[in-house]
Assembly symmetry: C2
Homo-oligomer: 321 residues x 2
Protein backbone atom coordinates (compact mmCIF):
# COMPACT_ATOMS: atom_id res chain seq x y z
CA UNK A 1 0.00 0.00 0.00
CA UNK A 2 2.93 2.29 0.76
CA UNK A 3 4.19 1.93 -2.79
CA UNK A 4 0.80 2.66 -4.28
CA UNK A 5 0.50 5.82 -2.25
CA UNK A 6 4.01 6.97 -3.02
CA UNK A 7 3.10 6.72 -6.69
CA UNK A 8 -0.14 8.58 -6.17
CA UNK A 9 1.69 11.67 -4.98
CA UNK A 10 4.84 11.30 -7.05
CA UNK A 11 6.19 14.37 -8.83
CA UNK A 12 6.01 12.44 -12.08
CA UNK A 13 2.24 12.32 -11.91
CA UNK A 14 1.77 15.74 -10.37
CA UNK A 15 3.59 17.50 -13.22
CA UNK A 16 4.37 15.13 -16.05
CA UNK A 17 6.85 17.41 -17.78
CA UNK A 18 8.35 19.79 -15.27
CA UNK A 19 9.04 23.40 -16.20
CA UNK A 20 7.27 23.34 -19.60
CA UNK A 21 7.71 27.10 -20.13
CA UNK A 22 11.48 26.89 -19.71
CA UNK A 23 13.63 26.43 -22.79
CA UNK A 24 16.23 23.71 -22.59
CA UNK A 25 19.43 25.40 -21.57
CA UNK A 26 21.83 25.88 -18.69
CA UNK A 27 19.31 27.53 -16.31
CA UNK A 28 16.69 24.80 -16.61
CA UNK A 29 19.40 22.17 -16.47
CA UNK A 30 20.90 23.64 -13.32
CA UNK A 31 17.50 23.70 -11.57
CA UNK A 32 16.77 20.09 -12.47
CA UNK A 33 20.22 18.88 -11.48
CA UNK A 34 19.97 20.56 -8.10
CA UNK A 35 16.50 19.19 -7.38
CA UNK A 36 17.52 15.70 -8.43
CA UNK A 37 20.57 15.58 -6.21
CA UNK A 38 18.90 16.92 -3.06
CA UNK A 39 15.92 14.57 -3.42
CA UNK A 40 17.84 11.40 -4.27
CA UNK A 41 18.23 9.39 -1.04
CA UNK A 42 21.31 7.75 -2.55
CA UNK A 43 23.00 11.07 -3.26
CA UNK A 44 25.64 12.48 -0.94
CA UNK A 45 23.81 15.77 -1.44
CA UNK A 46 20.46 14.44 -0.23
CA UNK A 47 18.56 16.94 1.93
CA UNK A 48 15.71 15.85 4.23
CA UNK A 49 12.35 17.36 3.17
CA UNK A 50 12.05 19.54 6.31
CA UNK A 51 15.28 21.27 5.30
CA UNK A 52 14.26 21.86 1.68
CA UNK A 53 13.53 25.54 2.18
CA UNK A 54 13.36 27.75 -0.93
CA UNK A 55 12.88 31.52 -0.71
CA UNK A 56 11.61 33.76 -3.49
CA UNK A 57 11.69 37.50 -3.83
CA UNK A 58 8.37 38.77 -5.21
CA UNK A 59 8.72 42.05 -7.18
CA UNK A 60 10.59 41.32 -10.41
CA UNK A 61 11.10 37.67 -9.47
CA UNK A 62 7.53 36.37 -9.39
CA UNK A 63 5.65 39.31 -10.91
CA UNK A 64 6.24 42.51 -12.84
CA UNK A 65 7.79 45.42 -10.92
CA UNK A 66 7.90 47.98 -13.74
CA UNK A 67 7.32 50.83 -14.30
CA UNK A 68 6.78 51.10 -10.52
CA UNK A 69 6.13 48.52 -7.80
CA UNK A 70 2.53 47.29 -7.82
CA UNK A 71 2.22 48.18 -4.15
CA UNK A 72 3.17 51.78 -4.93
CA UNK A 73 0.51 51.90 -7.63
CA UNK A 74 -1.90 50.66 -4.99
CA UNK A 75 -0.79 53.41 -2.59
CA UNK A 76 -1.21 56.09 -5.29
CA UNK A 77 -4.68 54.82 -6.15
CA UNK A 78 -5.59 54.81 -2.46
CA UNK A 79 -4.44 58.42 -2.08
CA UNK A 80 -6.79 59.36 -4.91
CA UNK A 81 -9.64 57.33 -3.40
CA UNK A 82 -9.14 58.81 0.06
CA UNK A 83 -8.56 62.41 -1.11
CA UNK A 84 -12.17 63.57 -0.45
CA UNK A 85 -11.65 62.75 3.24
CA UNK A 86 -8.32 64.62 3.25
CA UNK A 87 -8.81 68.13 1.82
CA UNK A 88 -5.43 69.06 3.33
CA UNK A 89 -3.68 66.82 0.80
CA UNK A 90 -4.37 69.35 -1.95
CA UNK A 91 -1.66 71.53 -0.47
CA UNK A 92 0.61 68.93 1.06
CA UNK A 93 3.45 67.10 -0.70
CA UNK A 94 3.84 64.41 -1.81
CA UNK A 95 0.04 63.99 -1.74
CA UNK A 96 -0.50 67.08 -3.90
CA UNK A 97 1.77 65.65 -6.60
CA UNK A 98 -0.05 62.31 -6.52
CA UNK A 99 -3.42 64.02 -6.95
CA UNK A 100 -2.05 66.12 -9.81
CA UNK A 101 -0.46 63.06 -11.47
CA UNK A 102 2.94 64.71 -11.17
CA UNK A 103 5.05 61.56 -10.85
CA UNK A 104 8.30 63.47 -11.17
CA UNK A 105 7.64 65.27 -7.90
CA UNK A 106 6.47 62.03 -6.27
CA UNK A 107 9.73 60.38 -7.30
CA UNK A 108 11.70 63.38 -6.06
CA UNK A 109 10.11 62.98 -2.62
CA UNK A 110 12.28 59.90 -2.26
CA UNK A 111 12.00 57.15 0.30
CA UNK A 112 10.64 59.55 2.88
CA UNK A 113 7.85 60.68 0.59
CA UNK A 114 6.94 57.14 -0.39
CA UNK A 115 6.89 56.14 3.28
CA UNK A 116 4.41 58.96 3.93
CA UNK A 117 2.17 57.73 1.15
CA UNK A 118 2.35 54.18 2.46
CA UNK A 119 1.58 55.13 6.07
CA UNK A 120 -1.38 57.28 4.99
CA UNK A 121 -2.87 54.44 2.98
CA UNK A 122 -1.83 51.24 4.76
CA UNK A 123 -2.54 52.07 8.42
CA UNK A 124 -5.50 52.87 10.65
CA UNK A 125 -7.53 49.73 9.97
CA UNK A 126 -7.56 46.09 11.04
CA UNK A 127 -5.54 43.54 9.04
CA UNK A 128 -8.84 42.06 7.79
CA UNK A 129 -10.05 45.48 6.59
CA UNK A 130 -6.73 46.05 4.86
CA UNK A 131 -7.01 42.65 3.15
CA UNK A 132 -10.43 43.63 1.87
CA UNK A 133 -9.16 46.96 0.49
CA UNK A 134 -6.26 45.23 -1.26
CA UNK A 135 -8.35 42.46 -2.76
CA UNK A 136 -11.01 44.89 -3.99
CA UNK A 137 -8.26 46.88 -5.66
CA UNK A 138 -6.53 43.85 -7.17
CA UNK A 139 -9.86 42.67 -8.57
CA UNK A 140 -10.22 45.79 -10.73
CA UNK A 141 -6.87 47.56 -11.17
CA UNK A 142 -5.08 46.97 -14.46
CA UNK A 143 -1.60 47.49 -15.75
CA UNK A 144 -1.79 49.96 -18.65
CA UNK A 145 0.79 48.47 -20.96
CA UNK A 146 -0.43 44.89 -20.74
CA UNK A 147 -4.10 45.68 -20.06
CA UNK A 148 -4.16 42.96 -17.41
CA UNK A 149 -4.78 42.72 -13.72
CA UNK A 150 -1.59 42.54 -11.69
CA UNK A 151 -2.14 38.98 -10.50
CA UNK A 152 -2.08 38.00 -14.19
CA UNK A 153 1.32 39.63 -14.58
CA UNK A 154 3.09 36.83 -12.78
CA UNK A 155 5.78 34.84 -14.52
CA UNK A 156 4.50 31.52 -15.81
CA UNK A 157 7.95 29.87 -15.68
CA UNK A 158 8.29 30.87 -12.02
CA UNK A 159 4.83 29.48 -11.19
CA UNK A 160 6.01 26.21 -12.70
CA UNK A 161 9.23 26.40 -10.70
CA UNK A 162 7.30 26.90 -7.44
CA UNK A 163 5.15 23.86 -8.22
CA UNK A 164 8.13 21.79 -9.27
CA UNK A 165 9.93 22.51 -6.01
CA UNK A 166 6.85 21.79 -3.90
CA UNK A 167 6.25 18.57 -5.83
CA UNK A 168 9.75 17.63 -4.77
CA UNK A 169 9.17 18.21 -1.09
CA UNK A 170 10.35 21.80 -0.83
CA UNK A 171 8.57 24.42 1.22
CA UNK A 172 8.40 27.62 -0.80
CA UNK A 173 8.47 31.03 0.88
CA UNK A 174 8.11 34.54 -0.44
CA UNK A 175 10.70 36.89 1.06
CA UNK A 176 9.69 40.31 -0.18
CA UNK A 177 10.73 43.89 0.40
CA UNK A 178 7.03 44.60 -0.09
CA UNK A 179 4.49 44.63 2.70
CA UNK A 180 3.85 41.25 4.29
CA UNK A 181 0.09 41.81 4.54
CA UNK A 182 -0.08 43.19 1.01
CA UNK A 183 1.58 40.10 -0.46
CA UNK A 184 -0.38 37.70 1.75
CA UNK A 185 -3.51 38.93 0.10
CA UNK A 186 -2.83 37.05 -3.11
CA UNK A 187 0.02 34.66 -2.34
CA UNK A 188 -2.14 31.60 -1.82
CA UNK A 189 -4.47 31.83 -4.82
CA UNK A 190 -1.74 33.13 -7.16
CA UNK A 191 1.39 31.29 -6.01
CA UNK A 192 0.07 28.51 -3.78
CA UNK A 193 1.96 30.06 -0.87
CA UNK A 194 0.10 30.26 2.46
CA UNK A 195 0.08 33.48 4.54
CA UNK A 196 2.43 31.92 7.08
CA UNK A 197 4.96 31.37 4.29
CA UNK A 198 5.20 35.03 3.38
CA UNK A 199 8.01 37.11 4.90
CA UNK A 200 7.95 40.82 4.17
CA UNK A 201 8.30 44.36 5.39
CA UNK A 202 5.81 45.37 8.04
CA UNK A 203 4.34 48.25 9.95
CA UNK A 204 3.59 47.97 13.66
CA UNK A 205 0.28 46.64 14.92
CA UNK A 206 -1.43 47.28 18.23
CA UNK A 207 -3.89 45.13 20.14
CA UNK A 208 -6.94 46.83 21.57
CA UNK A 209 -10.30 45.73 22.91
CA UNK A 210 -12.86 47.78 20.97
CA UNK A 211 -16.49 47.51 22.11
CA UNK A 212 -15.58 44.31 23.91
CA UNK A 213 -13.97 42.80 20.82
CA UNK A 214 -10.24 42.04 20.65
CA UNK A 215 -8.95 43.99 17.68
CA UNK A 216 -5.65 44.49 15.88
CA UNK A 217 -5.02 47.92 14.40
CA UNK A 218 -2.34 48.70 11.82
CA UNK A 219 -0.21 51.65 12.91
CA UNK A 220 1.55 54.25 10.72
CA UNK A 221 4.98 53.24 11.99
CA UNK A 222 7.58 50.98 10.39
CA UNK A 223 8.23 47.70 12.14
CA UNK A 224 10.74 45.96 9.88
CA UNK A 225 12.26 46.57 6.45
CA UNK A 226 12.68 43.19 4.81
CA UNK A 227 15.14 44.20 2.12
CA UNK A 228 18.89 43.80 1.51
CA UNK A 229 20.47 42.80 4.86
CA UNK A 230 16.92 42.62 6.23
CA UNK A 231 16.17 39.55 4.12
CA UNK A 232 18.46 37.08 5.93
CA UNK A 233 17.36 38.63 9.23
CA UNK A 234 13.69 38.27 8.29
CA UNK A 235 14.23 34.69 7.13
CA UNK A 236 16.01 33.77 10.35
CA UNK A 237 13.27 35.37 12.43
CA UNK A 238 10.41 33.90 10.48
CA UNK A 239 11.58 30.55 9.16
CA UNK A 240 14.34 29.82 11.64
CA UNK A 241 16.38 27.90 9.10
CA UNK A 242 18.80 28.91 6.38
CA UNK A 243 17.26 28.19 2.96
CA UNK A 244 19.05 25.83 0.60
CA UNK A 245 17.79 27.72 -2.45
CA UNK A 246 17.08 31.41 -3.06
CA UNK A 247 15.61 33.22 -6.05
CA UNK A 248 15.83 36.94 -6.70
CA UNK A 249 16.31 39.54 -9.40
CA UNK A 250 18.00 42.59 -7.91
CA UNK A 251 20.72 43.79 -5.58
CA UNK A 252 18.04 43.89 -2.88
CA UNK A 253 18.29 40.10 -2.96
CA UNK A 254 22.09 40.01 -2.75
CA UNK A 255 22.35 39.23 0.95
CA UNK A 256 19.60 36.59 0.80
CA UNK A 257 21.39 34.89 -2.09
CA UNK A 258 24.79 35.20 -0.44
CA UNK A 259 23.63 33.92 2.97
CA UNK A 260 21.71 31.06 1.38
CA UNK A 261 24.45 29.86 -0.91
CA UNK A 262 27.30 30.22 1.58
CA UNK A 263 25.79 27.58 3.88
CA UNK A 264 27.23 24.09 3.97
CA UNK A 265 25.98 21.33 1.70
CA UNK A 266 24.20 21.72 -1.63
CA UNK A 267 23.01 25.25 -2.30
CA UNK A 268 21.29 27.02 -5.14
CA UNK A 269 21.03 30.69 -6.06
CA UNK A 270 19.23 32.10 -9.07
CA UNK A 271 18.79 35.59 -10.51
CA UNK A 272 16.03 36.47 -12.95
CA UNK A 273 17.68 38.85 -15.41
CA UNK A 274 15.16 41.02 -17.23
CA UNK A 275 16.42 40.92 -20.81
CA UNK A 276 13.18 40.95 -22.71
CA UNK A 277 12.02 44.45 -23.64
CA UNK A 278 9.54 43.04 -26.09
CA UNK A 279 7.63 40.58 -23.95
CA UNK A 280 8.29 42.33 -20.61
CA UNK A 281 11.14 44.75 -19.78
CA UNK A 282 14.91 44.89 -20.16
CA UNK A 283 16.79 46.48 -17.26
CA UNK A 284 19.57 45.94 -14.78
CA UNK A 285 22.39 48.28 -13.76
CA UNK A 286 20.80 51.68 -14.29
CA UNK A 287 17.29 50.91 -13.22
CA UNK A 288 15.83 52.82 -10.28
CA UNK A 289 13.40 49.94 -9.73
CA UNK A 290 14.99 46.49 -9.44
CA UNK A 291 18.57 47.64 -9.94
CA UNK A 292 20.78 44.62 -10.63
CA UNK A 293 24.46 45.49 -10.51
CA UNK A 294 26.67 43.90 -7.86
CA UNK A 295 24.68 40.66 -7.83
CA UNK A 296 25.14 40.38 -11.60
CA UNK A 297 28.87 41.02 -11.33
CA UNK A 298 29.33 38.51 -8.53
CA UNK A 299 27.03 35.80 -9.90
CA UNK A 300 29.76 33.80 -11.70
CA UNK A 301 32.08 33.71 -8.69
CA UNK A 302 29.21 32.90 -6.33
CA UNK A 303 27.87 30.19 -8.64
CA UNK A 304 24.48 31.86 -9.01
CA UNK A 305 22.47 30.90 -12.08
CA UNK A 306 21.47 33.90 -14.17
CA UNK A 307 18.22 33.42 -16.07
CA UNK A 308 18.18 35.23 -19.38
CA UNK A 309 14.47 35.92 -19.58
CA UNK A 310 14.49 36.39 -23.34
CA UNK A 311 16.22 33.14 -24.10
CA UNK A 312 15.36 30.93 -21.15
CA UNK A 313 11.61 31.47 -21.05
CA UNK A 314 9.25 30.20 -23.74
CA UNK A 315 6.55 32.45 -22.41
CA UNK A 316 6.55 35.14 -19.77
CA UNK A 317 2.94 35.35 -18.56
CA UNK A 318 0.20 32.77 -18.09
CA UNK A 319 -2.08 32.40 -21.12
CA UNK A 320 -5.12 34.70 -21.27
CA UNK A 321 -8.14 33.03 -19.76
Amino acid sequence: MGVVCALAVSPALAQTVPLPSWNDGPAKQAIETFVQKVTDPESKDFVAPENRIATFDNDGTLWVEKPIYVQLTFALDRVKALAPEHPEWKDKQPFKAVLEGDMKTVAASGEKGVAELVMATHAGMTPAEFQKIVSDWLATAKDRRFDRGYTKLVYQPMLELLSYLRDNGFTTYIVSGGGIEFVRNFSEPVYGILPAQVVGSSIKTKYEVVDGKPTLIRLPEMNFVNDKTGKPIGINQHIGQRPIAAFGNSDGDYQMLDWTTSGEGPRFGLIVHHTDAEREYAYDRDSSVGRLDKALDDAPAKGWVVVDMKNDWKQVFPPEE
Copy 2:
Protein backbone atom coordinates in the same frame (compact mmCIF):
# COMPACT_ATOMS: atom_id res chain seq x y z
CA MET B 1 -6.48 4.46 -5.43
CA GLY B 2 -7.69 7.67 -3.81
CA VAL B 3 -9.62 5.68 -1.21
CA VAL B 4 -6.69 3.41 -0.45
CA CYS B 5 -4.44 6.40 0.10
CA ALA B 6 -6.95 8.23 2.25
CA LEU B 7 -7.01 5.16 4.47
CA ALA B 8 -3.25 4.96 4.56
CA VAL B 9 -3.00 8.39 6.17
CA SER B 10 -6.29 8.36 8.06
CA PRO B 11 -6.28 9.54 11.67
CA ALA B 12 -7.78 6.20 12.65
CA LEU B 13 -4.60 4.40 11.66
CA ALA B 14 -2.22 7.11 12.79
CA GLN B 15 -3.54 7.12 16.36
CA THR B 16 -6.02 4.31 16.93
CA VAL B 17 -7.38 5.65 20.20
CA PRO B 18 -6.88 9.40 20.29
CA LEU B 19 -5.86 11.10 23.52
CA PRO B 20 -5.15 7.91 25.52
CA SER B 21 -3.74 9.84 28.49
CA TRP B 22 -6.91 11.91 28.87
CA ASN B 23 -9.61 10.66 31.21
CA ASP B 24 -13.11 10.61 29.82
CA GLY B 25 -14.70 13.83 30.92
CA PRO B 26 -15.85 17.23 29.70
CA ALA B 27 -12.40 18.45 28.56
CA LYS B 28 -11.63 15.43 26.38
CA GLN B 29 -15.20 15.43 25.11
CA ALA B 30 -15.03 19.13 24.17
CA ILE B 31 -11.79 18.60 22.23
CA GLU B 32 -13.17 15.65 20.28
CA THR B 33 -16.46 17.37 19.53
CA PHE B 34 -14.67 20.42 18.20
CA VAL B 35 -12.30 18.41 16.02
CA GLN B 36 -15.12 16.30 14.65
CA LYS B 37 -17.26 19.26 13.63
CA VAL B 38 -14.51 21.26 11.94
CA THR B 39 -13.26 18.22 9.99
CA ASP B 40 -16.64 16.88 8.89
CA PRO B 41 -17.27 18.12 5.33
CA GLU B 42 -21.00 17.75 5.96
CA SER B 43 -20.91 19.96 9.07
CA LYS B 44 -21.92 23.62 8.91
CA ASP B 45 -18.84 24.17 11.08
CA PHE B 46 -16.44 22.56 8.60
CA VAL B 47 -13.13 24.43 8.32
CA ALA B 48 -10.80 23.94 5.36
CA PRO B 49 -7.46 22.38 6.40
CA GLU B 50 -5.45 25.52 5.54
CA ASN B 51 -7.50 27.42 8.12
CA ARG B 52 -7.13 24.82 10.86
CA ILE B 53 -4.57 26.81 12.82
CA ALA B 54 -3.99 25.86 16.45
CA THR B 55 -1.64 27.84 18.72
CA PHE B 56 -0.07 26.58 21.92
CA ASP B 57 1.66 28.45 24.68
CA ASN B 58 4.80 26.56 25.80
CA ASP B 59 5.72 27.21 29.46
CA GLY B 60 3.10 25.59 31.68
CA THR B 61 1.03 24.48 28.68
CA LEU B 62 3.40 22.03 26.99
CA TRP B 63 6.12 21.67 29.61
CA VAL B 64 6.81 22.44 33.26
CA GLU B 65 7.39 26.09 34.16
CA LYS B 66 7.97 25.68 37.92
CA PRO B 67 9.78 26.57 40.09
CA ILE B 68 11.19 28.99 37.46
CA TYR B 69 11.01 29.06 33.67
CA VAL B 70 13.40 26.57 32.08
CA GLN B 71 14.90 29.35 29.99
CA LEU B 72 15.75 31.29 33.14
CA THR B 73 17.46 28.21 34.58
CA PHE B 74 19.42 28.09 31.34
CA ALA B 75 20.40 31.75 31.71
CA LEU B 76 21.52 31.21 35.32
CA ASP B 77 23.60 28.18 34.34
CA ARG B 78 25.15 30.18 31.50
CA VAL B 79 26.10 33.00 33.86
CA LYS B 80 27.93 30.44 35.99
CA ALA B 81 29.61 28.89 32.95
CA LEU B 82 30.70 32.27 31.58
CA ALA B 83 31.79 33.74 34.93
CA PRO B 84 35.51 33.00 34.42
CA GLU B 85 35.45 35.28 31.36
CA HIS B 86 33.64 37.98 33.33
CA PRO B 87 35.51 38.70 36.58
CA GLU B 88 33.48 41.93 36.88
CA TRP B 89 30.33 39.88 37.57
CA LYS B 90 31.60 39.08 41.07
CA ASP B 91 30.76 42.62 42.08
CA LYS B 92 27.87 43.38 39.75
CA GLN B 93 24.21 42.63 40.40
CA PRO B 94 22.27 40.61 39.49
CA PHE B 95 25.25 38.52 38.34
CA LYS B 96 26.81 38.48 41.82
CA ALA B 97 23.61 37.05 43.28
CA VAL B 98 23.45 34.35 40.60
CA LEU B 99 27.03 33.30 41.31
CA GLU B 100 26.33 33.21 45.03
CA GLY B 101 23.12 31.24 44.55
CA ASP B 102 21.16 34.07 46.16
CA MET B 103 17.89 33.62 44.30
CA LYS B 104 16.07 36.08 46.52
CA THR B 105 18.23 38.93 45.24
CA VAL B 106 17.93 37.65 41.66
CA ALA B 107 14.14 37.69 42.03
CA ALA B 108 14.28 41.16 43.58
CA SER B 109 16.15 42.44 40.51
CA GLY B 110 12.83 42.07 38.68
CA GLU B 111 12.25 42.15 34.94
CA LYS B 112 15.14 44.52 34.41
CA GLY B 113 17.55 42.18 36.19
CA VAL B 114 16.30 39.14 34.31
CA ALA B 115 16.64 41.04 31.02
CA GLU B 116 20.29 41.78 31.90
CA LEU B 117 20.92 38.09 32.56
CA VAL B 118 19.25 37.13 29.31
CA MET B 119 21.16 39.66 27.21
CA ALA B 120 24.49 38.63 28.75
CA THR B 121 23.86 34.97 27.97
CA HIS B 122 21.76 34.95 24.80
CA ALA B 123 23.57 37.49 22.60
CA GLY B 124 26.94 37.93 20.92
CA MET B 125 26.89 34.76 18.86
CA THR B 126 25.32 33.45 15.65
CA PRO B 127 21.92 31.73 15.80
CA ALA B 128 23.67 28.43 15.00
CA GLU B 129 26.14 28.89 17.85
CA PHE B 130 23.28 29.71 20.20
CA GLN B 131 21.45 26.56 19.09
CA LYS B 132 24.53 24.51 19.94
CA ILE B 133 24.83 26.06 23.39
CA VAL B 134 21.15 25.40 24.12
CA SER B 135 21.20 21.83 22.89
CA ASP B 136 24.37 20.99 24.80
CA TRP B 137 22.71 22.36 27.93
CA LEU B 138 19.41 20.55 27.34
CA ALA B 139 21.30 17.30 26.83
CA THR B 140 22.71 17.39 30.38
CA ALA B 141 20.70 19.76 32.60
CA LYS B 142 18.19 18.13 34.93
CA ASP B 143 15.27 19.30 36.96
CA ARG B 144 16.04 18.62 40.64
CA ARG B 145 12.62 17.57 41.84
CA PHE B 146 11.90 15.14 39.02
CA ASP B 147 15.50 14.17 38.27
CA ARG B 148 14.77 14.39 34.57
CA GLY B 149 15.98 16.45 31.64
CA TYR B 150 13.64 19.29 30.76
CA THR B 151 12.56 17.86 27.42
CA LYS B 152 11.22 14.87 29.40
CA LEU B 153 9.11 17.22 31.52
CA VAL B 154 6.60 17.78 28.75
CA TYR B 155 2.97 16.87 29.24
CA GLN B 156 2.10 13.54 27.67
CA PRO B 157 -1.59 14.47 27.22
CA MET B 158 -0.58 17.61 25.35
CA LEU B 159 1.80 15.66 23.08
CA GLU B 160 -1.15 13.45 22.23
CA LEU B 161 -3.32 16.51 21.62
CA LEU B 162 -0.73 17.99 19.22
CA SER B 163 -0.64 14.72 17.28
CA TYR B 164 -4.41 14.38 17.29
CA LEU B 165 -4.84 17.86 15.83
CA ARG B 166 -2.16 17.32 13.18
CA ASP B 167 -3.68 13.96 12.28
CA ASN B 168 -6.86 15.91 11.66
CA GLY B 169 -5.29 18.39 9.29
CA PHE B 170 -4.42 21.15 11.77
CA THR B 171 -1.18 23.06 11.67
CA THR B 172 0.13 23.39 15.21
CA TYR B 173 2.14 26.42 16.30
CA ILE B 174 3.92 27.29 19.51
CA VAL B 175 3.26 30.88 20.57
CA SER B 176 5.54 31.43 23.53
CA GLY B 177 6.60 34.31 25.71
CA GLY B 178 9.95 32.51 25.74
CA GLY B 179 12.71 33.11 23.23
CA ILE B 180 11.89 32.01 19.70
CA GLU B 181 15.37 30.59 19.08
CA PHE B 182 15.44 28.89 22.47
CA VAL B 183 12.18 27.05 21.81
CA ARG B 184 13.09 26.24 18.21
CA ASN B 185 15.98 24.24 19.53
CA PHE B 186 13.78 21.38 20.72
CA SER B 187 10.34 22.03 19.21
CA GLU B 188 10.73 19.61 16.32
CA PRO B 189 12.14 16.55 18.12
CA VAL B 190 10.01 17.07 21.23
CA TYR B 191 6.71 18.40 19.86
CA GLY B 192 6.91 17.70 16.12
CA ILE B 193 6.73 21.46 15.50
CA LEU B 194 9.10 22.86 12.87
CA PRO B 195 11.18 25.99 13.53
CA ALA B 196 8.98 28.02 11.17
CA GLN B 197 5.99 27.13 13.35
CA VAL B 198 7.43 28.65 16.49
CA VAL B 199 6.45 32.21 17.39
CA GLY B 200 8.21 33.73 20.38
CA SER B 201 9.95 36.67 21.95
CA SER B 202 13.13 37.75 20.21
CA ILE B 203 16.22 39.86 20.44
CA LYS B 204 17.50 41.80 17.46
CA THR B 205 19.87 40.27 14.95
CA LYS B 206 22.35 41.97 12.66
CA TYR B 207 23.75 40.85 9.34
CA GLU B 208 27.46 41.22 8.78
CA VAL B 209 30.01 39.82 6.38
CA VAL B 210 32.78 38.35 8.57
CA ASP B 211 35.93 37.14 6.77
CA GLY B 212 33.95 37.05 3.54
CA LYS B 213 31.16 34.96 5.09
CA PRO B 214 27.62 36.31 5.53
CA THR B 215 26.89 36.03 9.23
CA LEU B 216 23.98 36.77 11.54
CA ILE B 217 24.85 37.98 15.03
CA ARG B 218 22.43 38.01 17.97
CA LEU B 219 22.37 41.44 19.63
CA PRO B 220 21.72 42.28 23.30
CA GLU B 221 18.62 44.31 22.45
CA MET B 222 14.96 43.30 22.65
CA ASN B 223 13.15 42.99 19.37
CA PHE B 224 9.69 41.78 20.36
CA VAL B 225 7.97 40.59 23.53
CA ASN B 226 5.58 37.84 22.54
CA ASP B 227 3.43 37.83 25.66
CA LYS B 228 -0.03 39.08 26.63
CA THR B 229 -1.14 41.57 23.92
CA GLY B 230 2.04 40.59 22.07
CA LYS B 231 0.68 37.12 21.35
CA PRO B 232 -2.09 38.14 18.92
CA ILE B 233 0.32 40.64 17.35
CA GLY B 234 3.01 37.96 17.00
CA ILE B 235 0.50 35.49 15.55
CA ASN B 236 -0.74 38.04 13.03
CA GLN B 237 2.81 38.93 12.02
CA HIS B 238 4.05 35.38 11.80
CA ILE B 239 1.10 33.24 10.76
CA GLY B 240 -1.05 35.88 9.11
CA GLN B 241 -4.27 34.15 10.08
CA ARG B 242 -6.39 34.13 13.22
CA PRO B 243 -6.19 30.65 14.82
CA ILE B 244 -9.38 28.69 15.32
CA ALA B 245 -8.04 27.05 18.48
CA ALA B 246 -5.72 28.31 21.22
CA PHE B 247 -4.24 26.57 24.25
CA GLY B 248 -2.69 28.31 27.25
CA ASN B 249 -2.37 28.16 31.00
CA SER B 250 -1.93 31.68 32.35
CA ASP B 251 -3.10 35.26 32.08
CA GLY B 252 -0.23 35.77 29.63
CA ASP B 253 -2.36 33.77 27.21
CA TYR B 254 -5.54 35.77 27.83
CA GLN B 255 -5.34 37.93 24.71
CA MET B 256 -4.40 34.99 22.48
CA LEU B 257 -7.38 33.03 23.78
CA ASP B 258 -9.71 36.01 23.55
CA TRP B 259 -8.66 37.01 20.02
CA THR B 260 -8.82 33.42 18.83
CA THR B 261 -12.23 32.60 20.26
CA SER B 262 -13.88 35.88 19.33
CA GLY B 263 -13.46 35.23 15.62
CA GLU B 264 -16.39 34.08 13.52
CA GLY B 265 -17.20 30.42 13.01
CA PRO B 266 -16.24 27.52 15.27
CA ARG B 267 -13.60 28.43 17.84
CA PHE B 268 -11.90 26.62 20.69
CA GLY B 269 -10.05 27.91 23.73
CA LEU B 270 -8.48 25.76 26.43
CA ILE B 271 -6.67 26.50 29.69
CA VAL B 272 -4.45 23.96 31.43
CA HIS B 273 -5.16 24.47 35.13
CA HIS B 274 -2.36 23.17 37.33
CA THR B 275 -4.24 21.36 40.10
CA ASP B 276 -1.91 18.48 40.78
CA ALA B 277 0.61 19.20 43.50
CA GLU B 278 1.47 15.56 43.78
CA ARG B 279 2.29 14.66 40.20
CA GLU B 280 3.31 18.18 39.12
CA TYR B 281 2.34 21.51 40.76
CA ALA B 282 -0.82 23.23 41.94
CA TYR B 283 -0.97 26.98 41.34
CA ASP B 284 -3.04 29.73 39.82
CA ARG B 285 -4.00 33.13 41.25
CA ASP B 286 -1.09 33.82 43.56
CA SER B 287 1.71 32.35 41.51
CA SER B 288 4.53 34.63 40.38
CA VAL B 289 5.23 32.20 37.54
CA GLY B 290 2.23 31.27 35.39
CA ARG B 291 -0.30 33.38 37.25
CA LEU B 292 -3.82 32.37 36.23
CA ASP B 293 -6.44 34.77 37.52
CA LYS B 294 -8.51 36.79 35.05
CA ALA B 295 -8.48 34.02 32.45
CA LEU B 296 -9.82 31.57 35.03
CA ASP B 297 -12.55 33.99 36.07
CA ASP B 298 -13.60 34.71 32.51
CA ALA B 299 -13.34 31.15 31.19
CA PRO B 300 -17.01 30.20 31.71
CA ALA B 301 -18.35 33.34 30.02
CA LYS B 302 -15.83 33.03 27.18
CA GLY B 303 -16.56 29.35 26.71
CA TRP B 304 -12.96 28.30 27.36
CA VAL B 305 -12.44 24.73 28.46
CA VAL B 306 -10.54 24.47 31.75
CA VAL B 307 -8.48 21.31 32.08
CA ASP B 308 -8.25 20.08 35.64
CA MET B 309 -4.83 18.45 35.44
CA LYS B 310 -5.42 16.21 38.44
CA ASN B 311 -8.70 14.79 37.20
CA ASP B 312 -8.44 15.11 33.42
CA TRP B 313 -5.00 13.59 32.91
CA LYS B 314 -4.25 9.90 33.45
CA GLN B 315 -0.57 10.67 33.44
CA VAL B 316 1.35 13.92 33.34
CA PHE B 317 4.74 13.05 31.84
CA PRO B 318 5.84 10.56 29.19
CA PRO B 319 6.91 7.20 30.62
CA GLU B 320 10.57 6.85 31.60
CA GLU B 321 12.60 5.41 28.77
